[in-house]
Symmetry: C2
Subunit: 364 residues, 2 copies
């Protein structure tokens, strides 16, 4: 069904994104006891599928009832013993840094101009000081539409043998290759309401043996996000605390859909949606992210013509399309289109046509 | 529809409990953006309703995408600056203590024989030492079917002016009076899969001004469960991190149902269901909890006849009823029936009749 024909505002926000009706139906399945065989079977089904999605053969995979903000805390508390470097290139990476500070950890931001990507060389130079034992990187910065060069940064990290690489793949996992094993990532975390197109409030992560070793030596790291406790439960295919069973039902159905499409096809579809959206923006307003770092899951459109972003967004809602204004201090300077999850090229065409209509209406 | 006629195992486990079909349908509603007006309206709708449920006029109420285990950590990290006393009378209160230790806090257990309730005098004596600035109490111990005498313990706590009272109301809120204001509770937390009869993976808490003052002075307490950050967001009716929107839809519908029934009627229904279950158990096997402390939401049946609990539970599943074996070391020594949430007296009668059938079958 075209987005414009649905009975609700269809979300092209850069998370949450629209959830397919059959996935929503999974959210409404009767609940099962989470200490029984059915839950073990569900976890045994999900973990290998998630390993495939993360691109890892052997890492532990944990499912947690929390948003990715919780897993930021998990990654940091479990893995930072000395000092963490946090490249900050937008609102979400800035918050990742704030979380480190809030956890009482020693942390330094590496500030990068918003709209620009983190440079691997800058990371390499700072890590070479020997001050850090972890780096916390946002792969795809949802606030600016920038995708950071993960393979190059990962390579710089690996030149420092004792630095753990903690990656927020919140708005990339399932839409842009993350490749946990190939990039030797130690903690890769994501929430499910972006490229996985599930309802929000649930997160997943993949954790390396090195990260688990580090975690085993950390004291005072808490309970709910303790990787060692999570591992001891997931090793028996049982959840650690009370899980969000509904999200797990929905995730199982979505993982099957993702596997049917195939990851490469999924990445190609995201790229095609992004190309269309970027072409639209370049021809009419502008693009906030520098050219070589434009995300395939979210486009941050630069408001070069000074349009009234709030009115533009409202005009789209009136047509049944939900997009987002700029994040934080970019509120009126940009707006953001999420082309992720289960959206199709055709739906993006519909959206862009509606965006043209609203622009025209506003110019009239 | 009688439980025995449904197409799935109907849960009489002491959490998760059975979720009504109309509540499950709410879980499957299309998602809304969580940074827009609709989410603000949803929070503005939910918070006063939750205040009514908690029995507080003015406390802050937070909704969090996590299980109650996460809120244990929240209560402890925000509120303990010196040392916390944790009465331990079962598996869940034992874990509350373990969470305190895992957070690196100074903590002492007050061990009480399993099946017995915490004595207010024992609490009073320990608090009088002046060693503690908080007490972490499980109101209703789901593993033993014991409800602790909250009003008496609360009174003992209030004789110590600087001790904060942190209450786990996980398996009592909505089934047994908690009365946050009347009992001068500082943090009252609960998950939603017990007496609120929602799908698991979501939690709520009410927090006193005193607890917020304490939190404001705590450093290193983290981000995801920081009461001060939660307050600053909920003051604007916005969620702090990405929320579980589906759970919030379901909670809104459930709060309306709870208000329609009325809290007093709801408590009376839980009492009636408990009376029936206790009478069944007393006449056939036995009751694990001491007489004056038997819970109205979960009955822990003492396996005085040495029946094969696993076989008994399986026999019930074959008839469409889910109950729980004993928890942890009580696995074969007890079994547990949850009579909570939206279950009715008639459904409990059906269940008890089925339990008789299975017992008879096993004796044959």
């Amino acid at each position: 069904m075209p987005a414009s024909k649905r009975d609700h505002t269809v979300l092209f926000t850069p998370g949450p994104t629209e959830v397919a009706p059959d996935i929503l139906r999974e959210m409404g399945r009767p609940i099962i006891g989470h200490r029984g065989i059915e839950m073990q079977d569900l976890i045994r089904d999900l973990v290998p599928r998630l390993r495939g999605l993360f691109g890892t053969r052997g890492y532990d995979v944990f499912l947690t009832a929390c948003s990715a903000t919780g897993l930021w805390e998990a990654a940091l508390r479990n893995c930072v013993t000395r000092r963490v470097l946090v490249p900050v290139c937008g609102a979400f990476s800035e918050r990742f840094y704030e979380v480190a500070v809030a956890c009482g950890l020693e942390a330094d931001p590496l500030h990068v101009e918003w709209g620009k990507a983190v440079r691997a060389q800058a990371v390499a130079d700072l890590l070479a000081t020997g001050r850090y034992d972890a780096i916390a990187l946002v792969h795809n910065e949802t606030s600016t539409g920038v995708v950071n060069p993960l393979p190059e940064i990962a390579e710089a990290v690996r030149r420092q043998s004792d630095v753990l690489l903690l990656v927020d793949a919140v708005s990339s996992l399932g839409g842009i290759p993350v490749e946990v094993d190939r990039n030797d990532i130690d903690v890769c975390l994501a929430s499910v309401q972006k490229c996985l197109a599930l309802p929000p409030g649930f997160s997943v992560c993949a954790v390396s043996p090195r990260a688990l070793e580090r975690s085993a030596r950390r004291v005072g790291k808490g309970y709910y996000f303790d990787f060692i406790r999570l591992k001891s439960c997931f090793d028996r295919s049982t959840p650690m605390a009370t899980p969000s069973v509904s999200h797990m039902f929905a995730l199982r159905a979505q993982m099957k859909r993702i596997e049917t499409e195939g990851l490469d096809a999924r990445y190609a579809r995201h790229r095609a949606m992004a190309d269309l959206t970027r072409a639209w923006a370049a021809g009419r307003l502008g693009l906030f992210a520098e050219e070589r770092a434009r995300s395939n899951t979210v486009t941050c459109v630069a408001n070069t013509r000074g349009i009234d972003v709030a009115r533009f967004v409202a005009g789209l809602v009136a047509r049944g399309f939900g997009i987002s204004n700029g994040y934080g201090r970019l509120k009126e300077a940009t707006f953001r289109v999420g082309h992720m999850g289960d959206h199709t090229v055709e739906e993006i065409r519909d959206l862009l046509a509606a965006m043209d209509e609203v622009l025209k209406e506003m110019a009239a």
